[in-house]
Symmetry: C2
């Protein structure tokens, strides 16, 4: 099979669909989303059947339990998927909104109109619910999407994409507004990322090696999420009870996700008082601790942390702990080892808070809050398709607004340039 | 010389400067800009001397007159450069602004803070005033810049970059906030575009082949300007006197720039009435006309347009003219042949205007206005560093705001995720 031609055909159909999508009103998009939600419910049986094949194949291939869990679609999860699509339908429609129309000395009125990006390729891994979320967010924003999920979920994704695409078309969307690349080969991802002029954006989620391969080959912009090495810094002036609550939540509330804390930094002035009871809480929650030498001087049962620990995204009940001499050292540590995802300070001192916010260059910077709050839903963006660790276009949670761009609209009355 | 190591050293110094720049207040940046403006005036003699070498070398190399003109720095142009930098100093400061701080149900307050992008590489060609504009816009926005101008202007650029960098440093900016790559070799551009982790953005202006080479090799985002094939469509309902004024201005007011009109599309119902007097005006202004067969049926002295003419960015007193049967055909023509830069409709019909604005996906879409108004200054953005024909992050004029990004800031009171 000529994979380049296969991907190109797919991208050409998407381009055509995008052109027609851009002309639709919000009513049609909303009807399509509601039809998609209904179809997920109506086809739950088929979806579960296809998913069972993936789960069986995954078990046979010896996939880890956590991955099997992510892959599995129960009735409850199918209902959740349906509800998520219906919620996206209910979000405000952004396309066509003009942000700020101003009258200029020449006599023109000029403003920025929010418009679809065009064709968006979305690369992701095991969870089949991403298929529904991604398709729905793209329909919401008037984009055509080309989905490329992981090998493990291929049967689930094929049926889901078909159900969603059929529902969308029957509700008035152009054909091929939602497509799935059914050939799972790294080559298809590369071709997709090189389809300059046909694909406008790649959203890449998943393993770092896959994302790096995409970025290296890409000729179209890639919005990506490398990793979340999130820090909490407990300042000398922190309310220690507050710090304990925030640091416990940031580590243990859901350790397997990107906004969970991986490294705890503590000011030396409060380390003696703060760490022993904090460690007790962590141990009660099953957290393994790895510390610098000064931490181990306070608690010798803590394992020594290596240089690798400071870079680690554990996604697990493991925490690296370091004592620092000053806020500047904490900021320097975050700059060196962090991934510019989400970093927090706990402090009562307004000057320290201001400095931390100013100097830490991460997609989310927090004062007296748990890094776990770094999330599109928590920020009020509605559904999100991921968290961008890039700096341009979208930073942090990627919701509907981040899947749009703008064009300048200018109204004159025969206005010319003098 | 190891060009990769040379560029990498330069990028490392810029990265360090960017970290220190991000911490500076607006006062320091403003002082630096005023010092830079003053220094341009104080060093005018040195600048003219270096420029004379470039001009002589250009003449000896047989550069076209238009390029020699763009290259030449007269006293008036040096004053203009100085004024441009002072004007950038006077623009409002955007860095640190929080756009929209909202309180969320969890108790956090969350908003987007405008922050510098970091290290910006700027690739451009003959005009040495871009050196001053680019450096000033980067200082304004708290970014460190690495400038890479064209071979033709190398002597002018070396002295300008030195004068600007020294003034900036003496006014309190970190060293290396403004750097120029002095080795002119396409390889340096490629290394710059591959410096992932050190360079955050490349702004590419100049020849299409250079830009394509950058995009192909790049691992960092590239903001680019391919070309401006701008259209004006004169609708059946147009006020023909208005159409004449707008179309004349769009073509002849300054034909050598990217927002000048290259193709005129006319509805068949008004072609007989509109074109003959319009052609008279064009000929009086020295415009060469190339038309479709239907245009030539009206005026056989018009040269036949080839398929290439519809794609052409003449940047000259040449105009392609086509008669279309309907607005849909005009939109289709623009989609096929245009460059998504700036396209205009002249019409009295509000439905036609709305349709054109909705369906034409260009960085600027205009109603009853000259494409020449597509400009950062005209839109009220202040100084611009170019016009982006990309869709993401920045579209259309790239001013100070487009050289910034945002981070989310979150304030809690010990807030955790439930």
């Amino acid at each position: 099979m000529d994979l380049k031609a296969y991907v190109r055909e797919c991208a050409l159909r998407a381009r055509e669909a995008a052109t027609r999508m851009a002309v639709l009103g919000p009513g049609t998009r909303e009807r399509a989303l509601l039809a998609m939600a209904t179809a997920i419910g109506d086809c739950a049986g088929q979806i579960r059947e296809a998913n069972a094949k993936d789960v069986d194949a995954g078990r046979a291939a010896g996939l880890p339990t956590a991955m099997i869990d992510r892959l599995t679609l129960t009735n409850t999860r199918i209902k959740g998927m349906r509800r998520a699509v219906a919620e996206i339908a209910a979000q405000p429609d952004l396309v066509g909104e003009i942000e700020h129309l101003v009258r200029r000395p020449s006599g023109i009125e000029v403003g920025k109109m929010r418009v679809p990006i065009g064709v968006i390729g979305i690369i992701y891994e095991a969870r089949p619910n991403v298929t529904a979320d991604a398709a729905a967010l793209c329909v919401k924003t008037g984009n055509a999407c080309i989905l490329r999920g992981g090998r493990e979920a291929i049967n689930s994704n094929v049926i889901l994409a078909r159900v969603l695409a059929e529902a969308a078309t029957s509700a008035g969307l152009p054909g091929h507004a939602i497509q799935l690349i059914e050939v799972i080969d790294r080559e298809t991802v590369i071709h997709l990322a090189q389809a300059e002029g046909l694909v406008d954006l790649i959203v890449a989620r998943g393993g770092e090696s896959l994302i790096r391969a995409v970025v290296e080959a890409a000729r179209v912009p890639v919005m990506k999420h490398y990793k979340g090495v999130c820090h909490t810094y407990v300042d000398a002036s922190a309310d220690l009870a507050m710090a304990e609550a925030v640091c416990l939540n940031a580590k243990v509330q859901r350790p397997g996700v990107c906004n969970a804390m991986e490294t705890l930094l503590v000011h030396r002035d409060v380390a003696d008082q703060f760490l022993p009871p904090m460690f007790e809480k962590y141990r009660a929650a099953g957290v393994e601790l790895r510390g610098c030498e000064r931490v181990r001087a306070i608690d010798p049962t803590v394992k020594p942390a290596t240089e690798d620990d400071w870079y680690a995204e554990y996604l697990d009940l493991i925490l690296a702990v370091r004592i620092v001499d000053a806020i500047g050292e904490a900021i320097e540590h975050i700059r060196k080892y962090g991934s510019a995802h989400t970093d927090a300070i706990v402090t009562k001192d307004v000057t320290a808070a201001r400095r931390f916010v100013r100097e830490v260059d991460s997609s989310s910077v927090m004062v007296n809050a748990s890094t776990r709050l770094s999330d599109g839903g928590e920020y009020g963006l509605g559904a999100e398709i991921g968290i961008s660790t890039d700096k341009l276009h979208a930073r942090g949670p990627v919701g509907a607004a981040e899947l749009t761009t703008y064009k300048w609209v200018v109204y004159g009355e025969g206005t010319i340039r003098e």
